[in-house]
């Protein structure tokens, strides 16, 4: 029972990170109808910036801020310089460009920082606290969970309560009409990418210390899991991404805890295929499945 509780809290904490990362994928999907396969690599790049600032200033919070700012800048840059110019003749064009970006970012990081694992510091204790004799949850887990939930609430407020949020939703939903009504659709797309990359950067800063450490490939598996989480929730639904992330985090925590860490990729694939074949629109979507 102790173990089950521990795995549950651990799953919720990592699930929160998956949720944030899935949310970043959903943000771009809703704005541009593409899955950003470079999200993981971009998050790693911003985490390198963040930890460079941490080691220069000694402050985790400055590093975190730098990483999020770098995410904003990188997201806007990728949209303005690359994604905007991908032709629509080939429907696979955006995925291929994003994959090229993955190779490029990881190679540049490897050349600049080297390919060895770098330790990543955390501001809180990662050892689990004992509550009533049961070691269940660490302060770091609480910080991760809290930070992600704050971001989720802020994003929800941004999209539903502010003019820019309304304009972003409008330009994603009906770009032609929005343009006629005076919305700068291109700029909204850039803002969407910047926001998504910033959320991805936060997720990267939160998850990298819990894994092996900072490495150009640190987010490869996280990306696959977050994609699964986004698909579980339905790529179109931000709320679905959050629930999907927590759900996938829990499932993977149990699988890893009871069956061993090697089975995780297999579990991810089984989960992804099951959801796509049984309920292709995800748990929270009304999108119809393709008939063949």
């Amino acid at each position: 029972m102790d173990r089950f509780l521990f795995l549950t809290f651990d799953g919720l904490s990592t699930g929160a990170v998956y949720a944030a990362f899935a949310l970043a994928l959903v943000l771009i999907w809703r704005a541009a109808r593409l899955v950003n396969f470079a999200q993981g690599a971009m998050a790693v790049a911003t985490a390198y910036v963040g930890y460079a600032v941490v080691s220069a200033t000694g402050s985790y919070w400055l590093g975190l801020g730098a990483a999020v700012l770098a995410g904003l800048a990188l997201g806007a840059l990728v949209e303005r310089v690359l994604m905007r110019f991908v032709g629509h003749a080939n429907p696979l064009g955006d995925v291929i460009v994003a994959l090229g970006l993955v190779l490029l970012i990881q190679a540049v990081l490897g050349m600049v920082f080297g390919s060895e694992y770098r330790p990543a510091t955390v501001p809180f204790d990662t050892d689990a606290l004992s509550v009533g004799g049961i070691a269940a949850v660490s302060p770091y887990d609480l910080w991760v969970f809290g930070a992600v939930m704050v971001v989720v609430v802020l994003l929800a407020l941004l999209f539903t309560r502010t003019p820019i949020g309304l304009r972003m939703r409008a330009s994603a939903f009906a770009p032609e009409v929005s343009r006629l009504l005076g919305v700068n659709v291109g700029r909204m797309l850039t803002v969407g990418w910047a926001l998504a990359a910033a959320v991805g950067a936060l997720a990267g800063m939160l998850v990298i210390p819990t894994g092996l450490g900072l490495h150009p490939h640190a987010m490869d598996m996280v990306f696959v899991v977050a994609f699964t989480a986004a698909v579980v929730g339905g790529l179109d639904s931000p709320a679905g991404a959050v629930v999907g992330g927590l759900l996938v985090g829990l499932i993977l925590s149990y699988v890893t805890g009871y069956l061993g860490p090697d089975t995780t990729p297999l579990a991810v694939l089984v989960l992804l295929l099951t959801v796509l074949l049984v309920r292709p629109g995800g748990l929270f979507s009304s999108v119809k499945a393709r008939h063949v």
Binding site: L34, V35, F37, L82, F85, V86, G87, A89, N90, P91, L92, G93, V95, I96, V97, L99, G100, L101, V102, L103, L104, I105, Q106, A107, V108, G110, M111, V112, G114, S115, D220, M221, V224, F227, T228, V231, D262, T263, T264, P265, L266, V268, L269, L272, L273, L276, L277, P280, A289, R290, V292
Partner: protein
């Protein structure tokens, strides 16, 4: 992607008396054959290409022959991959894992025969056939799921497949020997070639036969009724179904054929080094293969040749640079693995943004422009 369509809309001016040689030249896919048998034309081309490569390998150093062999092994994979992605519009990122399936099948078969002290020339073809069969079955399983998925979803699922290879080898560690991988006896040249025959040349010939067989099959497949139905499904599923094409069936079959090619390529790749290890089949390999077919031009078999050559040539780029310029060892070490990756990534981005038809598409449109200009002079 659009190369076929532009070719159809601007037909070449028909020469008044087609020379017999003209019939043998490959026209752009989509144009009707000018006459004669497609199979015969491709057979003649394959024999010609094979003869040229064999003559070239007789002049090469061992390492260069190994390079030729690697190009041929990758060509098996890229030929099938470009048919799947370019002609059928299904983006798979799991072809590295499919190569691993073929490679491990060959390794396990060869080991099994070696342990029972069975020897013979038939073991290699048998193990390669098994690799093709096993990978085709794996491709069938993935393809059945893939037929229900579109672009990014399919890419995501196959990406998850690609990350699975190291996990599978670790879970079933007594079969696949985990991170260390498997070793099996090296393929040696047959006795009648002489005692001093270069082993690498023999490997190059094995890979060449596999590549030529794959190219021959794919070239005929692309121009067959099946090839046309693949393109129809890619361009418009509804219209394809109205024309009586079984959409899901042709997609699954495309995946199976493509997987079989990847299995053969992976098997040959394993034979070249007589080892397999999960590290060789990481996610990067799938992205390299994607780079190869994108730069050649998606859907173009000649482009697949370009891609396979560049894939092998560019991987040697870092060592070439570190040998030419004297770099500090630290910098050289960092460049070693990463420079090729950066170049591959840049190529993927630039080709997709600037020339989505790839090298072969660009060459073809240049040739068409020259041909159009010629009669006016």
């Amino acid at each position: 992607m659009t190369a076929t369509r532009t070719d159809v809309s601007t037909p070449d001016p028909q020469p008044t008396r087609p020379s017999p040689l003209r019939r043998l030249l490959p026209g752009p896919p989509g144009t009707p054959a000018t006459g004669g048998s497609t199979l015969l034309r491709h057979l003649v081309l394959a024999v010609l290409a094979g003869t040229v490569v064999v003559l070239v390998t007789n002049q090469l150093e061992p390492y260069q022959n190994l390079q030729v062999a690697r190009v041929c092994a990758f060509l098996c994979v890229t030929a099938g991959y470009t048919v799947l992605v370019g002609l059928n519009g299904q983006l798979s990122l799991g072809h590295g894992a499919l190569m691993a399936t073929g490679a491990y099948t060959v390794a396990l078969t060869q080991q099994a025969f070696d342990e029972r002290a069975v020897q013979g020339r038939w073991i290699l073809p048998l193990s390669l056939l098994l690799a093709v069969a096993v990978t085709a079955v794996v491709g069938l399983v993935i393809g059945l799921a893939a037929a229900r998925l579109r672009g990014p979803y399919l890419a995501g699922v196959t990406l998850a497949v690609a990350t699975l290879v190291p996990a599978i080898t670790t879970i079933f560690t007594d079969v696949f020997n985990g991170e260390q991988g498997l070793r099996f006896p090296t393929e040696t040249p047959p006795a009648f070639l002489g005692a001093y025959f270069q082993p690498e040349r023999w490997l190059a010939w094995i890979a060449l036969v596999a590549a030529l067989l794959t190219m021959l099959l794919m070239a005929n497949l692309v121009r067959s009724r099946f090839g046309r139905s693949l393109r129809a499904v890619r361009d418009d599923e509804v219209a394809a179904r109205l024309s009586g094409i079984h959409v899901a069936g042709s997609q699954v079959l495309a995946f199976v054929v493509s997987a079989a090619c990847a299995g053969l390529g992976g098997g040959v790749y394993a034979v070249l080094t007589a080892t397999v290890a999960p590290g060789k089949f990481a996610l990067d390999l799938s992205l390299f293969l994607l780079m190869a077919i994108v730069i050649g031009g998606l859907g173009s078999l000649v482009g697949a040749v370009w891609g396979a050559i560049l894939l092998v040539a560019l991987q040697d780029l870092p060592s070439l640079i570190t040998e030419t310029f004297t770099l500090p060892s630290d910098l050289a070490q960092r460049l070693e693995g990463n420079l090729a990756l950066a170049v591959f990534g840049l190529i993927l981005i630039v080709v997709m943004l600037v020339a989505p038809v790839g090298l072969q598409g660009a060459a073809r449109s240049l040739a068409a422009r020259l041909r159009r200009r010629a009669p006016s002079r």
